[in-house]
């Protein structure tokens, strides 16, 4: 059944700070970066920050891992007078693409009119890449942390190996994800990594958690991104062409659950992204099929998880993600499904998924640096991570 709220809400404005290599945003504060992103999003939309009356976060309103946004503090800092909605999707970056659904819920329920979603990351105290090893283990985590799987990439390397074992997936497939996105980042002023990368250079990259090497891991960067969601009707009176929320879903199944923080997933969920239930729902909610997607912003914290998401969303059959990407299918130039034309989190910047929504908005306004011609439908996904995982389909306004 097609989603009752299809195309009724829209992203009306988006804003971002500069992107910084890890730690280099200091001495800026994280609330300052959050505020800058929100003010820029309001400016982009053509509204006053005082018109904001709702907050729809993801990641439990954590800004990265260790900092947390507090609606009251943001209201005080920015002069927002009253809110009718302030809520977050739980867990972490898995909800990155689903937060627009939460914002749409606020608007369709008439709790709020202009809802902001924001994510910021600043890593001058603790590197995200080794975040698990730094914390004292909980009783639950005492069954994981002693193994020396010190960060998310180490954990996902175990999933990647299972995928290689079951389906014959090659490192060349992971390399293609990295290399294709690097090509996309080369002409982007804000990208952190933009020198061309060869296959030989990929294979010379040091292993961090075999089978994943350093280049399979996303960047560790600082910055903030925010966007404003409102009703499509209101958005059409604002400064920018609206980007319609065509479908949004978050959740997932227990077989994935805590995923790589658990390692109890049966096959085929173990060697997957956990996104199949989200993909199935999005196709149902939207009435679309994978071939209708013009550009895909696939959460790329680790290259191997891009391959698995392409399978789970049905762009290729389960187990065929490797050959699919190795065929050149995800290239901006000549691919059948351009993936992450902004360079993604592997090459542009990593703000826990928020840069993907930014790129989708620019694509559907036809103002992207690497513009996919006539892009009408963009798929955005959240991180393969502990539930919820999420996805959304955004649409160009006619």
């Amino acid at each position: 059944m097609v989603w009752v709220n299809q195309d009724k809400c829209a992203i009306a404005g988006i804003g971002a700070t500069d992107y910084y290599i890890r730690g280099q945003s200091f001495p800026r504060t994280i609330n300052e970066m959050v505020g800058e992103a929100i003010l820029k999003a309001c400016e982009d939309a053509g509204i006053s920050v005082k018109q904001i009356d709702g907050f729809a976060y993801y990641s439990g309103a954590q800004m990265g891992y260790g900092d947390k946004a507090d609606t009251a503090s943001l209201m005080e800092m920015l002069g927002i007078e009253e809110v009718g909605f302030t809520a977050a999707l739980t867990s972490g970056g898995g909800g990155a693409a689903g937060a627009v659904g939460l914002a749409a819920a606020a608007i369709q329920n008439e709790d709020a009119r202009y809802v902001v979603t924001v994510m910021a990351l600043q890593q001058y105290r603790q590197r995200l890449g080794t975040v698990f090893g730094a914390s004292a283990p909980s009783p639950e985590n005492s069954f994981l942390q002693p193994s020396g799987l010190v960060g998310p990439g180490h954990l996902m390397s175990v999933l990647a190996r299972r995928h290689m074992h079951l389906y014959g997936t090659r490192r060349e497939a992971f390399a293609e994800v990295v290399i294709s996105q690097r090509l996309n980042a080369m002409n982007r002023p804000q990208a952190v990594r933009k020198t061309e990368l060869t296959l030989d250079e990929y294979f010379a990259s040091p292993m961090l958690a075999d089978p994943l090497c350093r280049l399979d891991f996303c960047l560790e960067t600082d910055g903030a991104v925010a966007w404003i969601t409102t009703s499509t009707e209101r958005a059409r009176d604002l400064r920018q062409k609206p980007v319609l929320i065509h479908a949004a879903a978050h959740g997932g199944s227990r077989n994935w659950g805590r995923a790589f923080a658990w390692m109890g997933m049966p096959d085929p969920d173990f060697g997957s992204s956990g996104h199949k239930p989200i993909g199935d729902r999005l196709w149902q909610l939207s009435g679309l099929q994978p071939s209708d997607i013009d550009v895909a912003l696939i959460y790329d914290h680790f290259s191997a998880m891009v391959v698995m998401q392409l399978e789970d969303y049905g762009f290729c059959a389960k187990g065929e993600g490797g050959p699919f990407v190795e065929s050149g299918a995800i290239r901006f130039n000549g691919g059948s499904l351009p993936v992450n034309p902004h360079g993604g989190q592997l090459s542009e910047a990593y703000i826990i998924g928020a840069t993907h929504t930014r790129e989708a908005v620019e694509q559907l306004r036809e103002s992207a640096i690497n513009q996919v011609k006539d892009a009408e439908f963009a798929l955005v996904t959240g991180g393969p991570a502990s539930l919820p995982v999420s996805g959304c389909i955004l649409r160009r306004d006619s």
Binding site: P137, S142, L144, P146, S157, A209, D210, P211, P266, F270
Partner: protein, 146 residues
């Protein structure tokens, strides 16, 4: 698989490993202290669950058994790491491993595989439990090739 020669997979230094317990996980660790490998089994329906939790996800019972397992298992997947996870310990090779436990269908342990060249570890390999002395008098189950 990647053609890299790593050398022997080592234990993680036990004096750098801490665990904590709660009501539901403590019996697992007490058994480990006596070098007895167990897993949390539902006392009502027999379903295994790891880590141990307060309810059986299959039948919601809170009754639990702690059967003695054979101590063997099968490598389900693994990674090879060669950077030290600790700033005060020089780099060493270790193999985080996910093990399907014999005698406890559906239950897995995330552990380390030690005592063999890391590059020779394969999925499907049979392994046997060994014990690593860690902080506060606890013991951590690790695995060697069976």
């Amino acid at each position: 698989m990647t053609g890299i020669t790593y050398g022997d997979a080592m234990k993680i230094p036990g004096d750098h490993i801490q665990i904590t317990t709660d009501t539901w996980t403590e019996p697992f660790w007490q058994a480990a202290k006596a070098e007895r490998l167990t897993a949390c089994q539902c006392g009502a329906c027999g379903h295994f669950r790891m880590p141990p939790t307060a309810f059986c996800p299959n039948c919601q019972s809170q009754k639990v058994n702690w059967p003695a397992l054979p101590g063997t298992g099968t490598v389900f997947s693994f990674a090879i790491c060669n950077k030290s996870p600790f700033p005060d310990v020089p780099d060493f090779v270790y193999v985080p491993v996910v093990v399907d436990l014999d005698g406890a269908p559906g239950a897995r342990l995330v552990s380390n595989l030690v005592g063999m060249p890391a590059e020779d570890v394969v999925i499907g390999m049979k392994v046997r439990v060994d014990w690593n002395d860690i902080r506060d008098g606890w013991k951590l189950p690790i695995f060697r090739k069976a």
